[in-house]
């Protein structure tokens, strides 16, 4: 479980996050949604400690993260898997080496076991026979998927995915959503997914946090989302005609 308490973050004069509090439960896919530039990625980076918030605290299983020393932080981080918005694969390593990287660094497996493990992660994201390609030789969507494979390689206790299905076709996108859900339930992972994709929100939205202008504007699940009367949330969710149709069919009329 991760608890965020009153987190505020500023870059120079720009207030990006203001007083955000939330609880992310274990074994659940928690989603953070919001417009581009609303501060979702910054929030995720505050939670994992890549940004230090000016105010507020982040608790991992009740322990305050920002008060830990370097070694203790590293110990928690070895249990975090993170997919970055831009994938952040290591350019100088091949696909297989990228996925094996955390295993080599921290695992205690033999080389062949590591390779098996990496292959099975790659298979789950539908990447096969691409072992010796370098990230620059992959499409954006493939990089994303390799990034997910790397994030899940260590069976993390905390999984962060920054826009896992942007740039993916609808089919692969569903595959990734299902995978994230599966892993979360199977291993009791505390999962936080940042997304714009209303499809995946409707598929997996058990706990949704809507960020607007750096504040937590709304919180709930997908059923509550459809019937909410929050103006900004509605503007965001029902921007597309498909979602408007969904709403009409749900509310049975105008």
């Amino acid at each position: 479980m991760i608890e965020v308490i009153g987190v505020s973050k500023r870059f120079g004069d720009v207030q990006v996050l203001t007083d955000i509090s939330a609880i992310f439960q274990k074994g659940k896919v928690n989603q953070i949604i919001g417009k581009s530039g609303s501060g979702k990625s910054v929030l995720a980076k505050c939670i994992v400690g890549l940004h230090v918030p000016e105010e507020g605290r982040v608790l991992y299983e009740g322990g305050s993260f920002h008060e830990l020393d370097g070694e203790e932080k590293r110990a928690i981080r070895q249990r975090i898997g993170m997919l970055f918005q831009g994938s952040a694969l290591f350019d100088s390593l091949t696909v297989l080496e990228n996925v094996m990287f955390p295993l080599r660094m921290f695992g205690s497996m033999a080389k062949s076991e590591m390779e098996d493990r990496a292959h099975s992660c790659l298979k789950r994201v539908n990447i096969v026979d691409k072992d010796s390609l370098f990230p620059a030789e992959l499409s954006g969507g493939m990089q994303k998927r390799v990034g997910i494979a790397r994030a899940i390689a260590m069976n993390p206790a905390y999984l962060f995915c920054d826009e896992p299905n942007s740039g993916l076709d609808p089919q692969t996108s569903i595959l990734i959503d299902d995978l994230i859900k599966e892993i979360t339930e199977e291993f009791g992972t505390t999962t936080i997914v940042i997304t714009h994709d209303m499809n995946s929100v409707m598929e997996t939205g058990e706990h949704i946090i809507f960020i607007h202008k750096g504040r937590k504007w709304w919180e709930g699940d997908r059923d509550q989302l459809l019937v909410s009367d929050n103006t900004e949330l509605n503007e965001f969710v029902f921007a597309g005609s498909l979602m408007r149709q969904v709403k009409r069919s749900m509310t049975g009329g105008a």
């Binding site: 980076k45 994992v48 890549l50 370097g70 932080k73 590293r74 110990a75 928690i76 981080r77 070895q78 975090i80 993170m82 970055f84 918005q85 831009g86 952040a88 694969l89 290591f90 350019d91 990287f101 955390p102 080599r104 660094m105 921290f106």
Partner: protein
């Protein structure tokens, strides 16, 4: 104020860099890779420069001291002294600061802007140690060899040029090379080389590591890395020379 900030942050980065490595075997494998990338791949330019500079040193020395009062061996002697004391350790290090330093800053800088360093941090890897320590170890181990090769080729280039153009006699030149040779001068040169290798790597890595922004900033970091490495090398050269030679 600004200078103090950079020095402080540089020292803190060094402290991180020399923190406990996660896996020594991985660090060692990375060191070998870096030795190839930063050292062996610099051999060509070092060899080329050294041979030509040695040739020029010899010709210039000869044309400047062409007097019946000065003995014939002086040309070889002067070529050897300027090569060992200054040209190879310092000038070649400055050249390497340009080649290796910009490479290091660009590589680490682009890893920073593409969030790859964040990815390392998130995994719990000591990113500074993992990225920088193997480079420091590699350059400190391989640069002395580069510099010794440079010394040899520079003097050899001088001999070829001198003899081929007929301005010096081969026997005189060789006598000059051997005359009053102090092994300590080579030690002095190698001490400088190792210190300069440390400066090139850490100063450049510092500029790469704290890049923020995008590709434009990577370019800026890379330029800064070269300029600052050069300045620090020149200053350190003066200090070391006073400490070691006087």
């Amino acid at each position: 104020m600004n200078v103090l900030f950079h020095i402080g942050r540089y020292l803190l980065l060094l402290k991180e860099t020399f923190g406990r490595p996660e896996r020594l075997s991985i660090y060692w494998a990375r060191t070998l890779e870096e030795m190839d990338l930063l050292g062996v791949k610099s051999l060509g330019i070092v060899a080329l420069l050294s041979a030509f500079m040695g040739a020029v040193i010899t010709i210039q020395t000869k044309t400047n001291i062409d007097s019946p009062l000065i003995q014939a061996w002086v040309v070889g002697f002067a070529t050897r002294q300027s090569t060992i004391l200054e040209f190879s350790p310092t000038i070649i290090s400055l050249i390497l600061a340009g080649k290796v330093g910009s490479n290091i800053a660009a590589e680490i800088g682009s890893m920073r802007v593409k969030e790859q360093i964040d990815a390392l941090d998130i995994m719990g890897v000591n990113s500074a140690g993992y990225l920088i320590l193997p480079k420091i170890a590699a350059t400190m181990m391989i640069n002395p060899f580069l510099i010794m090769i440079s010394m040899f080729l520079s003097i050899f280039g001088g001999w070829i040029a001198g003899v081929q153009t007929g301005i010096v006699d081969s026997a005189d030149f060789i006598q000059g090379i051997q005359l009053g040779f102090k092994p300590y001068h080579v030690v002095y040169a190698l001490i400088k080389t190792v210190v300069f290798a440390f400066i090139i790597t850490t100063v450049s890595a510092y500029h790469g590591f704290y890049t923020s922004g995008g590709t434009r900033e990577v370019g800026i970091s890379s330029t800064r890395a070269v300029v600052f490495s050069n300045v620090v090398i020149l200053f350190t050269n003066l200090v070391l020379t006073q400490l070691l030679l006087i």
